[in-house]
Assembly symmetry: C2
Homo-oligomer: 223 residues x 2
DNA sequence: GCCTCCTTGTTTGTAGGACAATAACGCCCT
DNA sequence: AGGGCGTTATTGTCCTACAAACAAGGAGGC
C-alpha cells in the first residue's frame, strides 16, 4: 500500500512518477514498461525501479509477468464492478465507524469543515479541484473511522479509482449528485447516526459505481 | 499482495521463507532483520531480499524504517481489533456474494465438499490440519464470491491472521464453536440465502475476533 | 508451400562489488 | 554526570556482469 515511512526515498519518487504518468495517460493501459527505458527516463538504477514495480503491482496498477516485464494493467468493466463492490462495504463501514467517533477530539470540527468545503464546490468550475475535494472527503471519513487498516486498504483502492474519476466527475450532473450524496453522508456522521451514515455512504458509492460503469468503454480500446 | 504469476521466482521463495520463519516464531515480533544476515541465511543477494521486504511491508507483516532496516511488525490489540473489523465486513460481503452465485458452475459441489471436510474435522486431533481446513474454507468463500479484488484483499489480510490463529484455535472449545459457525455459513450459502450467509459469516468473524482479543497479550512482551 | 527446429537478439532475474548517507554507539573532554 | 565528536554498522543506490527465459525469424525437411 503506501510507504510506511515519512522520509522520502528514491522508490517513493519513482512510484509517484509512474502513477502520475499513468494518470495523465502518458503510460497507456496495456503498455509495456521496459526497465532500460524507465531507468534512463527517470534517472534511477534498476534496483529502486524494480521495487517500485513491485509496489505498483501489489496495488494492482501494474501487471508483472516473469521474464516478460511490467505492463500497465488494463481495467475491465468487471474489475470496475469488483472495485466498487469492495469500496461500498469498506467505505460504508468507515462512515458508520466515523459516526460513532464524531465526539472524539476535533473530529466534528474537521468533518464540518470538509462539508462546508464540499458544498462550496457546487458552483465551482474547477473540475480537478473538485476531484481533490472528493478525494479528501473520502480520505477524511476513513481516517475518522479510527481504523488504520481500513484507511490503508481504502487508500490503496483509491489509487485505482482515480482512473475512473477522471472520466466520470467531469459531468456536471454527476458532480451535483455526488455533492448531494456527500452532504447526506456528512450530515449523518455529524449526527452520530452510524446506521444512516453507512446507508448513505453505501448508496453513494453504489450509484457512483453504476455511473462509472455506464461510461466505461466496453470493447478492447487498444492493444 | 500475492505474486501475480504462476512461475516461482527467487523473491517468492524469500517471501515464503520469511513468512514461515515468522509463523514458527524464529523471527520474533520486534526483531530486526538485517540484510547481511538474511542474504547469507537464505543464499540470495540483496536485490531480491529487498524486494521481498517491500512486499511483506506492504502486507503489513514487516515495518521498514529508512536507514534503520526491516523489523517484524508487532501486532497490538488495536491492530487486532482493526483487522477483525475489516475482515467482518469483507468476508460477510463475500459470503453474501457466494450465496448469490451458488448455482454457477461447480460452486455448489465445492462448497459441499468443503463443508463435509469441515465437519469431519470435529473429532480430529490434528490442530495444524484443522487450521489448514479453516484457511481453505475462508479462501473458498471469497473465491466463490466471484470478486477477484475481494479475494486479493482478504487473502492479504489472512496472512496477518495466521498469527492469531496459531494462538487461538488450539483450544478445543473454540474449535468446536468455529466448526459450528462454518457449518452455519455453509448452509446459508448452499441455500442461496445471501442475507443469512452474510449474517452468519459476520457473526463468526466477530466472535472469533473477540476470542482472539481475549487471549492476546496486552503488555509489551519484549523489546 | 507449410510446418518444425534452431539460432539469434532482447529483456528480465539475480549476483556481487562499490560507495555515499544515515543512524547508533561509545569515547573523550569538560 | 552530561554533552559534543568521531567511529562503526547498516541501509540506499548505483554499476557491471551474466544466466535464464522469451520472441522473432531463418534454415531445413516434408
Amino acid at each position: 500500500m503506501t510507504p510506511r515511512s515519512s522520509r522520502a526515498t528514491t522508490v517513493d519518487a519513482v512510484v509517484a512518477a509512474i502513477v502520475e504518468a499513468i494518470k495523465v495517460g502518458r503510460y497507456a493501459p496495456g503498455q509495456r514498461l521496459v526497465e532500460a527505458d524507465l531507468t534512463e527516463e527517470l534517472g534511477v538504477s534498476r534496483g529502486p525501479l524494480r521495487e517500485a514495480f513491485g509496489r505498483l503491482a501489489a496495488e494492482g496498477l501494474l501487471l508483472i509477468e516473469p521474464y516478460r516485464g511490467a505492463l500497465v494493467r488494463r481495467m475491465t468493466s468487471q474489475d470496475l464492478r469488483d472495485l466498487y463492490e469492495v469500496r461500498e462495504v469498506l467505505e460504508g463501514q468507515a462512515a458508520a465507524l466515523a459516526a460513532g467517533r464524531i465526539d472524539e477530539s476535533d473530529n466534528r470540527a474537521r468533518m464540518s469543515a470538509a462539508l462546508a468545503q464540499m458544498s462550496a464546490e457546487r458552483d465551482g468550475q474547477d473540475v480537478s479541484g473538485y476531484m481533490d475535494r472528493n478525494e479528501s472527503f473520502h480520505a477524511l471519513i476513513v481516517e475518522l473511522s479510527g481504523n488504520e487498516l481500513l484507511a490503508r486498504v481504502v487508500g490503496a483502492l483509491q489509487v485505482q479509482a482515480f482512473r475512473v474519476f477522471y472520466r466520470n466527475l467531469a459531468d456536471a450532473a454527476a458532480r451535483e449528485q455526488s455533492i448531494t450524496d456527500h452532504e447526506a453522508v456528512a450530515a449523518a456522521v455529524l449526527a452520530g447516526d452510524a446506521r444512516r451514515a453507512e446507508r448513505a455512504m453505501r448508496r453513494h458509492v453504489r450509484v457512483a459505481g453504476r455511473t462509472a460503469l455506464a461510461v466505461w468503454p466496453t470493447g478492447p480500446t487498444r492493444a
